[in-house]
Amino acid sequence: MDTAEQRAGIVADLFEQSKESLFRYALTLAKTIDRADDLVQEAFLRALRHAGTLERMNRHQRDAWLKRVVRHRFFDEERGRKRDQAAVIERVRRAKQPLYVEHAPALEDIIERVPERYRTVIEMRYRLGLNSREIGLALGIPSGTVRSHLHQGIQWLRDEQKASIR
């Protein structure tokens, strides 16, 4: 494969030949037109990155390759969706569960153990009940950074908990 132009040419030809059949296949899986279109677009973007491989294939193999990309992408998304749903259900289940832990450490004790760089945002979030935007405004940092520190702080606590169980 020599140039980006040649790569684009191969994929453009493939797009013209296969877009309708690939769309129909994506629609079979995805059920909605917009999602099917997204899957097709992602498949051709991937084709652009693998144009060298596709160049060595015949028409049937290229079509099969594109379908495989669509299928794998669709199932990856489905698995991700199921994981997210399971996580939400688990969070709801835990929230409903009464806490029977004896000698549960106080919130203050837990927060005290968190490294300094995460502690402030965790305190503001869980002690004061502020959201990421409010914390960001108070500390003069973007809310995305707040969320990142929260995530990392909670992850640190989880790791600590696992280590203590071991």
Binding site: I33, D34, T145
Partner: protein, 401 residues
């Protein structure tokens, strides 16, 4: 495999501040969307065993990174996430509308990586392009006066009547125009810039096509007299009983129920079209086939029970033990045939196997499947060892080493 951790399925892997020791502890990194490195850690890339990496991007270690998992929408009144970040990484689409705030936002960021499409007003495109370090999608510019619609736009006569002036629509999804309204389309729509598909009634087709600008998706014309049905459709006896010479155009798969009597199909259906396929019991073929466009549409007439494999399935011998008679298999997803299924069972119990997805089986089973293959638009593969990797660290959105 070399000693060390394996890392996989990570959206963003940040090794900008990592140490030599940490890099030395990693055996392999697979399936990372983006790897961020700094000038100081650039040399580590060649030492890592990297597989399926979409992009590796240099970002100085001291630059603050803000990552958004999902779409970003920059509107005149609202610049999301509380303001501009120094370096933005967007794992989704970016929708930008023209305004002073969005213009300032683009000026303030030092770099931008987008793993999706960007929709940007023409006036902001130069500023945007100067910030893009990596774009794994398309940059779609649109006129500043265009109305950006995220998702599907359903055009109706009353919607257009409510608009005093003609306007241009930039649609990231599909456009649906099923009510006959050719006149309103001519008068109230300046242009349509559509990334997805256009589904329109035959009465609107000419007017819609005249307004399309730089469209990428196709135009699907729903024949006059047909009702549009989006998604899959099951036409069982009850559903068909409510129709009287109905004409249906379905965007998904149409299944005709096994409880439908020939007289009900004759009375209820006058026409049936599908963008995907029509699946019908063989006993109704004589009637239903006359209602279809068999040149344009895909139809499967099946014998016995219909076994649908539309997800990830494994077919075990027990399924045959607890059912009787012939069956037709329709595979649109991935079907793995377990080695416990005898090839003779496949050959005798399947009336046909239609493969639009992927079937994996042993060489002996393959012969039996091939003998029953009807529609073959998918892959028929020999069973191989599962290639699933076990990761020490996996399924993370952002992983900083």
């Amino acid at each position: 495999m070399a000693n060390g951790k394996t890392i996989g399925n990570v959206n963003v892997l940040d090794i900008r501040k990592t140490s030599e020791e940490t890099i030395g502890s990693i055996a392999r990194i697979s399936n990372a969307n983006v790897v961020l490195y700094s000038p100081a850690t650039a040399s580590y890339l060649s030492r890592l065993d990297l597989g399926n990496i979409n992009a590796s991007i240099e970002v100085p270690a001291d630059v603050e990174l803000q990552t958004t998992m999902g779409n970003v929408h920059l509107t005149p009144g609202k610049v999301d996430d509380g303001g501009p970040a120094v370096f933005r990484l967007v794992m989704g689409n970016m929708f930008i509308e023209a305004s002073r705030e969005t213009s300032e936002f683009l000026r303030a960021i030092s770099g931008l990586v987008v793993m999706g499409n960007i929709y940007c007003p023409e006036s902001l495109a130069p500023a945007l392009e100067s910030k893009i370090k990596q774009l794994m999608g398309n940059l779609r510019t649109y006129p500043d006066d265009g109305t950006l619609i995220i998702g599907t736009l359903e055009l109706t006569d009353s919607f257009l009547a409510g608009s005093e002036v003609s306007q241009g629509f930039v649609v990231t999804g599909s456009v649906i125009a099923m009510e006959p309204m050719a006149q309103a389309l001519r008068e109230k729509v300046d242009y349509l810039q559509v990334s997805g598909r256009v589904l329109c009634a035959e009465e609107n087709a000419e007017a819609v096509k005249a307004k399309l600008r730089g469209g990428e998706g196709g135009v699907t014309v729903v024949p006059s007299g047909y009702r549009l049905r989006q998604g899959d459709l099951l036409l069982d006896a009850a559903a068909l009983g409510s129709l009287d010479q109905g004409r249906i155009f379905c965007t998904g798969t149409v299944r005709i129920g096994e409880d439908v009597q020939p007289e009900a199909a004759e009375r209820g259906l006058a026409g049936l079209r599908s963008l995907v396929m029509i699946v019908c019991p063989d006993g109704l073929k004589d009637i239903v086939a006359t209602r279809l466009d068999l040149v344009a549409d895909r139809a499967i007439f099946y014998e016995g029970d219909l076994w649908l494999f539309d997800g990830e399935h494994t077919l075990h011998a027990s399924r045959f033990e607890y059912t009787e008679g012939k069956a037709t298999a329709l595979v649109t997803g991935e079907l793995h045939i377990d080695p416990d299924v005898e090839p003779a069972t496949l050959a005798t119990r399947f009336a046909a196997v239609h493969n639009l997805g992927e079937i994996r089986c042993s060489p002996e089973q393959m012969g039996a499947i091939e003998a029953r293959l009807g529609m073959q638009e998918g892959e028929l593969l020999g069973s191989t060892q599962e290639e699933k990797e076990d990761f020490d660290i996996g399924n993370a959105n952002v992983l900083t080493l």
